[in-house]
Symmetry: C2
Subunit: 339 residues, 2 copies
């Protein structure tokens, strides 16, 4: 008999296939060949800076912008999902027939190149590199949140084919949108109702409860709590939550930002050591820019290894079937030793 | 500049990447080798009936149940996401700490084997076979809706790796759940609000508007309207809607059921002729079993070719980026001639 579990942060249901669950090591992926350290055709490799739009941020040892010498580089996405409006133009909104609503795709879409090395993955970064990737993400968050028309800044990462990336070179992405996504509205509404009913933050309470239960905890550090959620939608889904309440990723202090980089490196390192080099996504859920100070939301980072396919049942119902038990996958990850 | 469009049936936003949109023929998939007509290792092939749980329905020329001679066969899924409760047992529900809600995974999960031939895909069925697949789906819908604890019956199909299937042999699936999925609740709520505001069915109005606009229409038959939705989440997403208002797929009369089979065959045939043999999902959105008579919901069938990956942005925001323009893909599909 499987279990139907509810994600308290979204009210979404998940089917945990307890009786046909796979063991953690069943999710191990065959090793993929490592690409070369430098690919002359890669627009993100050093020396190819002219193949990208001019950088908006470069952490560099020297040299002018858009030349080699950087260790982290942020550029506008050449294939941007959203683009800046011309200063003079008013963004268009239209409703046709009361049924067809659309607006101009105004916003920003940036790419953060995480390392000059084409084949160096996050778990293999030096600590300092991992720290500075997160510092740079925070810096771009803080810059983009102030742009006109921007309601939310969404940070994410795609690693590998199954995670939807087309470029191997390690990078993250930042999209600033003029709308608040419905899924974020629902997270906010759920957390607000919890706050109104209980007088406290849902996520702070969740961290406390998961710490006590211990079974789904991956690690409990000084500033971050890492766990596999109770109603995990896919095997090895991992949440990293700040222990100090805050609705906004961009409000992290510098020490905590650096620690997040190290925690992320360590957790990804454990996932890689256990599972091979799985394709994965990272997303940061953070409050809309006008609600960054709220008591009732709590930002967090999700790692989603792409170990299962979204099929018709998930598309049709929104209910995910998870063949990994979060209690077992968390235990397996806790047991991984990185030297 | 891309367009941000809103799906009026869910209020979800979609980014239509108008300026980097692909042309319809850019989505053509390389041909895949056709498997053999019979695979001795396939549990769905004739002669291997003993490898599946005993059938719950068989359309057959003769022979006893669970032997060859069938042309359509429905069996319980051996790897069921949900399973029937024992007659004596009360389904368990638990809430731990106010945060962790779970219940027994009670329900039914069936597989409908659409043809005895291992390699015969829906677009290549004889008309009668296509009609009877839909008749059988309807028959199982009507049977499962009456079971105790069942709130919703979800019908879907996975075709191909990227659509999450592990078995090539053509089949559909039916899952009867003891809960109403949140995503269906939201569709119901959106349509109810529209009904309250406008005094009519959202989907009926949508069909009328799309018929008048004509640009996203694929075909307008006597009983079904076929279109690419305005805020399509992925390229070539196709909706088949009954023109006569009904909230419930199971309430189709027999003539309309047969026509749905032929329409589905024709539309999939056009998609296959244009795109090769793309992986795809089908889902039917229908009302919960206690709301089948409602004026404010309207069942429909969605075909989702899996031509793009769900990446971090989609996971993080719920906003899909679609590189196909529904106006162009509908036009391309209208132009396909099946002899």
């Amino acid at each position: 008999m499987s279990e139907i579990r509810q994600d308290i942060t979204t009210n979404e249901w998940v089917i945990i296939a307890t009786d046909r669950a796979k063991r953690p090591h069943d999710f191990v992926k065959p090793a993929k060949p490592l690409p070369p350290e430098f690919d002359p055709k890669c627009p993100f490799c050093p020396g190819n800076e002219s193949q990208t739009p001019p950088e908006v941020l470069g952490y560099r040892q020297g040299g002018p912008a858009n030349s080699p010498g950087w260790w982290i580089r942020v550029i506008p996405n050449r294939f941007a999902a959203l683009s800046p409006r011309e200063a003079s133009a008013t963004p268009k909104r239209e409703v046709e027939n009361g049924l067809f609503r659309k607006m101009d795709g105004i916003g920003k879409h940036e790419v953060l190149i995480e390392t000059p090395k084409h084949n160096l993955y996050f778990p293999n970064f030096m600590d300092k590199q991992a720290e500075e990737v997160v510092i740079a993400l925070r810096e771009r968050y803080l810059a983009l949140r102030t742009e006109s028309n921007i309601k939310v800044v969404i940070i994410f990462k795609n690693h590998g084919d199954q995670a939807g990336t087309s470029l191997l070179h390690p990078h993250s992405q930042i999209v600033a949108t003029p709308i608040v996504p419905q899924s974020l509205r629902r997270r906010l509404a759920t957390a607000t109702r919890y706050f109104d009913d209980n007088g406290g933050c849902l996520y702070c309470d969740l961290i406390q409860a998961e710490f006590k239960a211990a079974r789904r905890m991956v690690e409990d550090g000084p500033k971050f709590f890492v766990m596999h959620p109770f109603a995990s939608r896919s095997p090895f889904e991992t949440w990293i939550l700040p222990k100090q309440h805050s609705a906004c990723f961009g409000h992290l202090d510098i020490d905590s930002t650096k620690e997040l980089g190290r925690v992320l490196k360590r957790v990804l390192g454990k996932i890689f050591k256990l599972l091979g080099n799985p394709d994965y996504n990272i997303v940061i859920h953070t409050a809309p820019v006008n609600e960054e100070e709220e008591d009732y939301f709590h930002w967090y980072l999700r790692i989603i290894p792409r170990l299962s396919m979204m099929a018709g049942f998930e598309i049709g119902s929104g209910i995910f079937i998870n063949t990994g038990l979060p209690e077992e996958t968390a235990e397996a990850l806790r047991a991984v030793k990185l030297q």
